[in-house]
């Protein structure tokens, strides 16, 4: 290391040694966690840490962009899609393709070894450092902008086109062709009236049986006949099996709904 060029401060060293292991751990989380949401969280951590390292490495602009683009946009997109696909859909980690796990691990390790040894054996020139390299220079964002809109302006424009194209592409890809006529308020109302004989309720559903004991959103209301009204509990709670029986009704007046029926 050439101290004349670049001196890495102790603070940075500490920062690195704190963040780097955490980053590796979080990245490994990508491999081992079961739920995709957790994996996304791990990745968010890696990316934010990356932003920190960028800033530490004299790239404040990139650090900010990293936070804005990656954690702010890309990862949000991931989460949206995750929610679309199903947040709680957990991924089984058992391997279905024969030998894939070992092949994958072998390749991963191999990559690490090859890359690591390349880095280890490579002879780097003395580090210069950005300020050292540009003594009378301006601050990082301005310098970067000069290069970006000077030497690379055509590439910049091309990338702009690419982004637009990608946006349009995403629109086209996710566009669903309308197979049925568009529903307006009128037709929805008509359809509901028409479905009346099938047991559709026109009026608002009954609200859950709110009892002072808890916030009680999970407790079904009681009908005029003393029966519990299952629809009064949110569907999500019902599916999760988190609804509770209405406690205050005397046992002889209650028709207890078995667990299985409630789930259905």
């Amino acid at each position: 290391m050439n101290p004349a060029g670049l001196v890495i401060s102790t603070g940075e060293t500490v920062l690195f040694w704190v963040i780097a292991p955490l980053m590796v751990l979080a990245a490994l989380g990508l491999l081992f966690v079961k739920r995709a949401v957790h994996a996304a969280m791990c990745l968010v951590f890696v990316m934010v840490s990356m932003a920190v390292l960028y800033i530490a490495q004299e790239a404040p602009f990139l650090g900010v962009v990293q936070v804005v683009v990656y954690t702010g946009a890309v990862m949000m997109l991931f989460l949206f899609v995750l929610m679309l696909v199903g947040v709680d859909a957990s991924d089984s980690l058992t391997e279905t393709i024969r030998g894939q796990r070992w092949i994958g691990l072998l390749i991963g390790l191999g990559l690490a070894v090859v890359l690591g040894s390349v880095v280890a054996r490579a002879a780097f020139p003395p580090a210069v450092g950005l300020n050292g390299g540009d003594p009378g220079g301006v601050a990082n964002p301005q310098a970067l902008a000069r290069v970006l809109f000077g030497d690379y302006v055509v590439a910049m424009e091309a990338v702009g086109v690419l982004l637009v194209t990608a946006a349009v592409g995403a629109l086209v890809l996710t566009h669903r062709r309308r197979l049925t006529p568009k529903q307006n308020q009128r037709s929805v109302a008509d359809a509901r009236i028409k479905a009346l004989p099938d047991g559709v309720v026109l009026t608002p559903l009954p609200s859950p049986g709110v009892y002072a004991r808890s916030n009680a959103m999970d407790t079904p209301a009681l009908g005029p006949d003393g029966e519990q009204v299952p629809q009064s509990v949110s569907r999500v709670l019902r599916i999760r099996g988190q609804e509770r029986p209405a406690p205050h009704v005397p046992a002889d007046e209650l028709v207890h709904t078995p667990e299985s029926e409630r789930d259905a």
Binding site: L43, Q57, L77, V81, V85, T174
Partner: protein
């Protein structure tokens, strides 16, 4: 501390990302692996920019980010479309190319 530690970290992250691509079956997680690999290269770029005192590395990292953003948009759109038709986000279920 040696500046090459950053490069080693980048290499490690890249390898982990690649392994993720190879081992995970959830398309979204696979995609995250790809993002991790891209980030790892970006770290290397930034590090080398600093090492050489040349901002071009940072510019390149910037472009990688932009392209990655575009790629994510399209990639996720594809995943969503596939999920819509097949009700699955597992990459193993999409094997129509089987010979």
């Amino acid at each position: 501390m040696d500046i090459t530690n950053y490069v080693v970290l980048a290499a490690a992250l890249f390898a982990i990302g690649a392994t993720t691509v190879l081992l995970r079956r959830n398309a979204i997680v696979v995609f995250m692996g790809v993002e991790l690999m891209l980030n790892a290269t970006n770290l290397a770029f930034v590090t080398f920019a600093r090492l050489h005192g040349d901002l071009t590395g940072q510019v390149l990292a910037f472009f990688v980010m932009v392209v990655a953003a575009a790629e994510v948009v399209v990639g996720l759109a594809i995943i969503v479309t596939i999920f819509r038709t097949r009700r699955s986000a597992s990459v193993d279920d999409v094997n129509l190319l089987k010979g």
